[in-house]
Amino acid sequence: MGSLIIKSLVKEFDNTKALDQLTLEIHDGEMVGIIGKSGAGKSTLLRLINRLIEPTSGSIQYNEIDISNLKGKKLKNWRSNCAMIFQQFNLIDRLDVLTNVLSGTLGNSFNILKLLKIYSNSEKIDALRHLHNLDLSDKALQRVETLSGGQQQRVAIARAMMQKPKILLADEPISSLDPKNSKVVMDDIKKINKEEGIMAICNLHSLEVAKEYCERIIGLSEGRIVFDGNPSELTQELSEQLYDLENE
């Protein structure tokens, strides 16, 4: 069993601290919900874990390997190991669903033919399998922008699964979706977490969703952890403080 260990992580943007001395340990197979106001540092934390941005100080380790110093090929491998899902889906418009899903392999097995959209048969079968698991196999040849928001987010999940990730980082995965689609997407993330044992870290705006799906909740406020524990331990008072009464 591996674990993600974050020690006194600091991230500054122009002298404002987005994350302040964050220390945290998350184990394989956990599903963690990160809650907090916008600007609390949730998104920054996920981006730091994926190394889309560089930490100001502190360290991130996974299975005793220091992630925060990786460069070049090793950095790309790491990114491929922790798949990201975005609020705006970040799919490639004007390309079909299948190619979008296949683009998930660009990190872990790049070759020059992939720039010509040529992928191996086993990769295509993999992609179709993931789409099938998410009830999207009939959409494989459609352009992504013709799909609904919920479907697009599931395409993004299928793309993430092509990375064969050890960690799934979801940055506000349901913020631009309606309640029905939100449920489908969260169910999918939960299923992946349970069935494949992949560690899932979700930034969530809604406390209700976090309580429903995550066995552990981390509350962030101004770049610091103010709560870390079981959803049942979260008091009314604390959750009001976390959301500053702008609770949804």
Partner: protein, 292 residues
């Protein structure tokens, strides 16, 4: 309370309007001053223009063909017939074809070079800031020098003929399209790029999947517009010996073969109009494609 608020607002609004009016007024003054300064610099002389206009008419009258409505469809030996006017049509069409090919080739080559360089010279996606400045300045140089200068240079180096023209227009096209393309990249949102980066994709993958699908319609549209421009450019460039119909036009103008001048100009105008219409409708389709 609300009255004083309203009063405050109207005072502030009046002040704002005042400064805005002052600003507009000074811009107009500057513009007028600049107009007079520049017209004195270039010796702008209205009288000269007015007295020159009839001469312009003279030339136009002279190059007009002598067509006789009763002999219009006689053979090329009869004065006054269409085929007498266009006795050299075979040669013209061949040269026009050459000009067309010069435009096609130079647009295609310029497109390829510009496309490659544009990724290096777009600030938001360039792999490193050094190559960004280097390529940007290089493109500026390529489009800063008029193509006619490059044409003179290459005619001198490679001899008279279309090759010099093709190279000259290719160079200018690379510079012009390179700038436009990199601006298109800079206006693209990087969502998809970020996703490719987050899954460990390299720079080439980011460009191929994150940028190219998004910018392609825009880029094709710009390339077609450039092709229209290059048709005209490859005509003009013939004047310095760089091949095509322009070279022939320059010849007949110099030798005062008046009727041939009008024959060639009419052909060029027809060609340009046809190509503008065709490429314009293709561009509309491509842009429509982009918007859906």
């Amino acid at each position: 309370m609300s009255n004083s608020l309203l009063e405050n607002h109207s005072i502030m609004y009046a002040q704002q309007m005042k400064s805005r009016r002052l600003w507009n007024f000074s811009i107009i003054i500057i513009f007028i001053a600049a107009f007079f300064i520049s017209s004195s610099v270039i010796n702008f002389d209205l009288e000269k223009i007015i007295s020159g206009i009839p001469r312009l008419g003279d030339y136009v009258l002279r190059i007009l063909p002598n067509l006789d409505s009763t002999l219009l469809f006689e053979n090329s030996k009869t004065e006054g017939s269409l085929s007498y006017w266009y006795f050299n049509i075979k040669k013209y069409l061949l040269l026009l074809y050459e000009t067309f090919n010069m435009a096609v080739l130079s647009t295609a080559m310029g497109f390829v070079f510009a496309f490659i360089l544009s990724f290096l010279s777009a600030k938001n996606i360039t792999p490193n800031i050094f190559s960004y400045y280097l390529v940007k300045r290089f493109l500026e140089f390529l489009r800063g020098v008029p193509e006619i200068i490059f044409a003179i240079l290459f005619v001198w180096a490679l001899g008279v003929g279309p090759l010099a023209g093709i190279i000259a227009i290719t160079i200018h096209t690379t510079g012009a399209l390179g700038k436009l393309f990199s601006e298109v990249h800079e206006n693209t949102d990087l969502n998809a790029c970020e996703a490719i980066k987050s899954n460990g994709g390299n720079w080439l993958s980011e460009m191929r999947y994150g940028i190219i699908p998004k910018v392609l319609p825009n880029i094709i549209s710009y390339a077609l517009l450039r092709f229209e421009i290059n048709i005209r450019a490859s005509t003009v460039i013939g004047f310095v010996g760089a091949g095509g119909i322009g070279q022939e036009l320059y010849l007949v103008i110099n030798f005062n073969y008046y009727e041939e001048v009008s024959a060639i100009i009419l052909l060029i105008i027809l060609t340009v109009i046809t190509i503008d219409i065709v490429s314009g409708s293709i561009r509309k389709k491509v842009i429509g494609e982009m918007n859906d």
